[in-house]
Symmetry: C2
Subunit: 614 residues, 2 copies
């Protein structure tokens, strides 16, 4: 790797390479400040204040700045100072503390080098069944994560494929070496484990109440933490999408999670239990069963039954990272359970790092609805890979950057965060910087219009999850239906329908259940409506569907224009333009396919005479 990869990130102003000799975050902080201030007339110094822990305080001195902070806080402070100065932003005042103690990046990297739902090339650290990486690039990764406050990296796919169990077994030494690379940046490792692992180790069962199983996990934990004492914990997905779990043995998820949690509790480890669990063999004929209900129905009765070091990791919506979903009711209903909010930086359903999709506006909605005090941790599925620019599309880096800042402070302003990323990454003329920031700020709304208007998600091509296929998931077992017919479309999820709205606290329940108040963006998620239904603005439902698709596509074309006028550096400019061409093609396909799909049901032409293919 060369300086080139460093320059393709928001850290481009920091001299490469990062220190190879740093052992602690304080070492790194001192190194980074020295390097950054070397080119300036003022100076900066660090001071360790253990009580501040992850927090820091920046103060002005006669010649420059003093960074006071806890063990990792001092490093976060150094980066915050550098970020503010580089972007000509005000230096934050007073003590800064992160809102969520755990700010995780979940990497779906497989040991064969592939990345599940990865759109930025192959794994940064696995290849051919074992570790394979450039230490310099991993240090650079640690620096990027640390610079925005991410403090845990889960290094392997939560769908644990063979031979990932080796990470804690004969490859433990390699895992420890990898952990050591990230330690000077305050980033701790987490490992995804396979609940059924004892079975593969020759035990006859993986039953969490079996003493031998419990002993096996306790022994494993001891061996692992002996070697990596600051390991953050284990991440587990069980009983989901055909994977084994406690239900296999007639045990609850609490019994399953607690067993593992107790094995790692002596070392301060967290057991993160992924709540993405539902009956994935739903029958489309059955209109009573409703997949969005599944997680709440399963976990709500277990509220309070989890041990203190268990964290239930819940996706932001009740489905699966769609463009727009209501907040998962589980995030509002589990009052006696530690929760982690999970978002997905990898753009599985949101454009695959080809189409522009900046997530901060979405997160703002999520945090404001959730009441940020409800959850204890945040986790994001990584959008990283071995590509030169780290994230496939160079602009997709904004999501990693912004995720860190929102995880630190969920009250962050999406526009300000996006603008800061743009300034740090490109230093464009002010007018161009505004254009780029605005484009990113509205990119989600554009993508939403042409792919998922009114909450109609799942019209996407099965398996690949890119491009339109409005009925591709309609008769599948995943519970993902839109139920369009010649008269109406959407699902009634009120008390008269599947009853999903009853899982919400009453204010939200009433908001969603009433046609007078339900937000347009979720209208067909919560309601089944005829095509001639009058929207609040007077348009018919079918016309609104057409309009959104025409507008979304036109707005994508406007973005293409705006983009071509930006004086971005090479190769980012060429890369962004190339991907924008694909986005335009994708947007047109969505527009025409979805409009035709509904035209064939309704026979209603566009009120403005635009082309809808028959």
């Amino acid at each position: 790797m060369s300086d080139w990869v460093n320059r393709r990130s928001w850290l481009k102003d920091l001299p490469w390479p990062a220190s190879e000799n740093a052992v602690s975050p304080l070492d790194t902080a001192e190194y980074e400040l020295k390097a950054f201030f070397a080119a300036r007339t003022d100076t900066a110094a660090c001071q360790l204040v253990p009580d501040l822990k992850e927090g820091y305080e920046l103060t002005k001195t006669q010649n420059g700045f003093l960074v006071r902070g806890g063990k990792t806080g001092v490093l976060y402070g150094a980066y915050a100072l550098i970020r503010a100065l580089s972007s000509f932003s005000p230096v934050p005042e007073g003590v800064q503390q992160p809102y969520y103690p755990l700010r995780m990046l979940d990497c779906w990297d497989n040991m064969d080098g592939t990345v599940e739902r990865g759109y930025a090339g192959r794994s940064l650290w696995f290849e051919g069944g074992s570790f394979s990486y450039e230490p310099a690039r991993i240090r650079q990764l640690g620096r990027m994560l640390s610079s925005v406050g991410i403090n845990v990296l889960c290094l392997n796919n939560v769908n644990v494929h063979q031979p990932a169990q080796r990470l804690l077994d004969d490859l433990l030494e390699d895992t420890a070496r990898f952990a050591a690379l990230l330690r000077p940046f305050g980033v701790r490792l987490m490992v995804s484990v396979d609940f059924s692992q004892p079975l593969q180790q020759g035990l006859g069962t993986a039953d969490p109440l079996d003493e031998e199983v419990q002993r096996w996990w306790a022994d494993t934990a001891k061996r692992v933490w002996d070697r990596i004492p600051d390991l953050a914990g284990f991440l587990v997905k069980a009983d989901s999408e055909h994977r084994p779990g406690p239900n296999t043995y007639g045990r609850t998820h609490a019994q399953g999670a607690n067993m593992l949690a107790r094995a790692i509790a002596p070392y301060g480890g967290f057991l993160v239990w992924r709540a993405f669990v539902y009956n994935c063999m739903q029958d489309w004929r059955d209109t009573k069963t409703d997949r969005p209900r599944a997680a709440y129905d399963l976990y709500k009765p277990l509220d309070g039954a989890f041990d203190g070091n268990v964290i239930l990791q819940v996706k932001h919506g009740p489905y699966d990272f769609q463009v727009r979903e209501p907040l998962s009711p589980l995030l509002l209903g589990m009052n006696s359970t530690a929760l982690a909010l999970e978002v997905q930086l990898a753009q599985e359903y949101t454009g695959q790092q080809i189409d522009l999709y900046a997530m901060p506006p979405m997160w703002r909605e999520v945090f404001s609805q959730m009441g940020k005090e409800r959850v204890r941790a945040v986790a994001a599925v990584s959008n990283l890979g071995r590509d030169g620019c780290w994230t496939g599309h160079p602009f997709a880096a904004v999501n990693l950057f912004a995720y860190g800042l929102f995880a630190w402070n969920p009250d962050s302003d999406p526009a300000a965060v996006i603008r800061q990323w743009a300034r740090l990454s490109y230093a464009l003329p002010k007018e161009q910087e505004t254009r780029l920031s605005d484009m990113l700020l509205r990119s989600r709304s554009v993508y939403e219009k042409y792919t998922a208007t009114l909450g109609l998600c799942w019209m996407i091509t099965p398996n690949t999850h890119y491009g339109p296929n409005p009925y591709g998931y309609e008769f599948q077992a995943w519970g993902t239906y839109i139920r369009a017919d010649r008269n109406a479309v959407g699902i009634d999820r009120t008390a008269q329908g599947t009853g999903y709205t009853d899982q919400y606290p009453s204010a939200l329940r009433d908001l969603y259940a009433s046609l007078d108040t339900c937000p347009d963006g979720l209208l067909l998620f919560f309601h089944r409506l005829p095509y001639d239904y009058r929207m609040r603005d007077g348009r018919t439902l079918i016309q609104r569907i057409y309009d959104d698709h025409f507008e979304g596509c036109a707005q994508a074309e406007e973005m293409a224009n705006a983009l071509s006028g930006l004086s971005l550096p090479a190769p980012d400019r060429e890369e962004a333009l190339k991907r924008m061409e694909r986005q335009i093609k994708n947007a047109r396909e969505w527009r025409d396919v979805v409009n035709t799909f509904f035209y064939r049901y309704t026979g209603v032409p566009d009120a403005h005479g635009r082309t809808i293919y028959p």
Copy 2:
């Protein structure tokens, strides 16, 4: 392998193993007759009559029979005699000659051991990038092929994946050894080659008019035929589904094929050129372009331009092995080109060797429409694999058996052929044999009713090609549309529509173009009709769609009943019952999904009040 595999075939009465010492088909004939007649009181003798070539004549002698025949004819005669005696059928009288000189089995085996569209397990002869097989099992395969007159085996996938070029290169010795195993059974090898191979050998081009390219192929042919003098030829798929070909260099398919044909002509090799070529990037918005037209539009102008040893291999229908298609107009329009008819034993779209689907009734239709004199060769995509019963479903063997008999005599009677297979394979009580034969005889019609009524093909799940997904291919680039809307369904392919019917001779053109005469089974393939269209029997189109789906499913359920009463041997019985359970499930899914699909467009309930899910 043990005798067990032998017993799971129509050769179960022949003692295992086949001779290891036979060198010529005559050796094999003598060995087989000796072994078969050892258990009888009469006898049989062989006599070589070179002039008969592949033909034979069976005559009664005082103590038994005399088999007179040509070099391979004598072996075919021996098997015909054994087949007749084993099935208590009359011994054929007079000289028997095969109708088609080339009777090919195209195997889509990849060298990594997978079989493209294979439903009977892994490859019988490839694994891990090279040959890997039990010689005894390959001899048994040769025996099965020979026993029904198949005389060419193309051993690798026509989509030539790396490292299959090694078959003619550093693995040539292994290929020759494999050819030698099949030679005593009169089965000659053919090899699929990659048109772009010269490129990968360091030449800068694969242009068929380039002299260096021509020399490279001539040298290759010399080297190969030196080692395998009876190699049947090369099979090629070029310029199709993103594969390179002569068009890449601005040359015609005739120029491409002839170049290869000239390289192998000195050795008597055939160049089989697969005519499965079309623009696979069609736009669904474009209603003028019509994929079924593609092959005729491309090849008709080349009629007469191909060398004498080129054979154009044409699929039976203009699409791709659907349950029901009209005959490919290419098979009727190429008067100065040698043609091979291609069928697919592998049940890619026809139930995947889970659902019952016996093909003889379909072939009868094809041969009777085509006029059997039009084509010079037949080819079938193999349904074989490493499974114990060879064909996944034990009954799927009927298609391999019957294919051989139809290739020998296209006037064969489907019912008689199916019955003979049943008798040779199972020796059931007469009433049960009738039940099994009847079940197989009507199995295609049952499958057709629940998957592809009225010529509505392509409502199948994309990629996997099993199970319903009525709109899965609707907006794709493959040219496979049904264009259903709230008023009508189907494609007008008459002169008023895409003009496809004009590719037929006038009698067929008129038959298909007129609603008065177009067969019901192809009605919506050729015409676009409103749902309230009155069928000739008085039913509406929509009611006919519903009826077929209810009936097809009910008939599948009847087959399940019939099957459970058959005293088949283990493990065939269990295997057949297990698969029948899956067929029933599949049939119900098709019935409900397709009925619902059209109900959602029409709002018309079933006239008989049967359940259609909303």
